[in-house]
């Protein structure tokens, strides 16, 4: 019986173990591109907000709008990715979204407790500041880890 490895893959794809179809790889590149654009716009908006946001309402609003609008192509690319995805890959992503949603929802519900605990810590200002960014980071972490684990599991 013939067996063969998927050609033309980088080390990261090989390490993750699941490569999808050529369409999946093309759509993933598009999704990564728009996500990168969003990260750049978000960081730029943050910088603009910190520099001019306190004095100028219009600039602050524009920075907020830019960061929000840059998310639209990411959602569009992800919807397209899921719509055209290999069915096993789609199932993996749905499970990862369920885990990420659970983590995010849990953190939102526990926010009051976490802020209270963080304020009691010796380094409370930095701990409370950390909490403000912890939710999206932990959601992204949970999403990525779940995808990695499931891809490794099904690709064995």
């Amino acid at each position: 019986m013939k067996t063969e490895a998927d050609p033309g893959l980088n080390w990261l794809s090989r390490f993750c173990g699941f490569h999808g179809t050529p369409t999946d790889r093309r759509n993933a590149r598009m999704l990564n591109f728009y996500t990168l654009i969003w990260v750049l716009v978000f960081l730029l908006s943050l910088k603009v907000m910190e520099t001019y946001g306190d004095e100028n309402l219009a600039v602050a609003t524009a920075a907020l709008a830019a960061a929000a609008l840059a998310w639209i192509p990411v959602v569009w690319a992800y919807l397209r990715y899921l719509r055209e995805a290999d069915e096993l890959l789609r199932m993996i992503h749905v499970q990862a979204m369920a885990v990420a949603f659970g983590v995010g929802f849990c953190l939102v519900l526990l926010d009051r407790f976490l802020v209270r605990i963080a304020s009691l810590m010796p380094e409370s200002p930095s701990a409370v500041k950390l909490l403000s960014v912890a939710n999206p980071l932990l959601m992204a972490f949970a999403f990525s880890i779940t995808i990695f684990v499931l891809q490794r599991r099904y690709a064995r």
């Binding site: 013939k2 999946d24 290999d86 096993l88 099904y154 690709a155």
Partner: protein, 78 residues
């Protein structure tokens, strides 16, 4: 669910990648189906059956044997 996909693929001397390309899925999906870790969707099961010119029940069978499915819990004999 058990299946005979690996056997049928071997008869055709296709690699997993070749079969995956013919079915329009990833090689990992074919591998996961063959090893019983993933049950395909009904459209994909039909595509597999069509490709090998067999009935679905000749390729896939329930894990507990090929007996008939249980009747729904609210089904009653009249």
């Amino acid at each position: 669910m058990k299946n005979h996909l690996r056997l049928l693929r071997a008869e055709k001397d296709w690699s997993q990648a070749e079969l995956a390309e013919r079915l329009g899925v990833s090689r990992q999906t074919v591998n996961a189906i063959e090893t019983g870790r993933y049950d395909p969707s009904l459209p994909l099961a039909f595509d597999i059956a069509r490709l090998f010119a067999r009935g679905i029940e000749q390729i896939f069978e329930p894990a507990g044997g090929n007996g008939s499915a249980k009747p729904p819990p609210n089904a009653r004999n009249k």
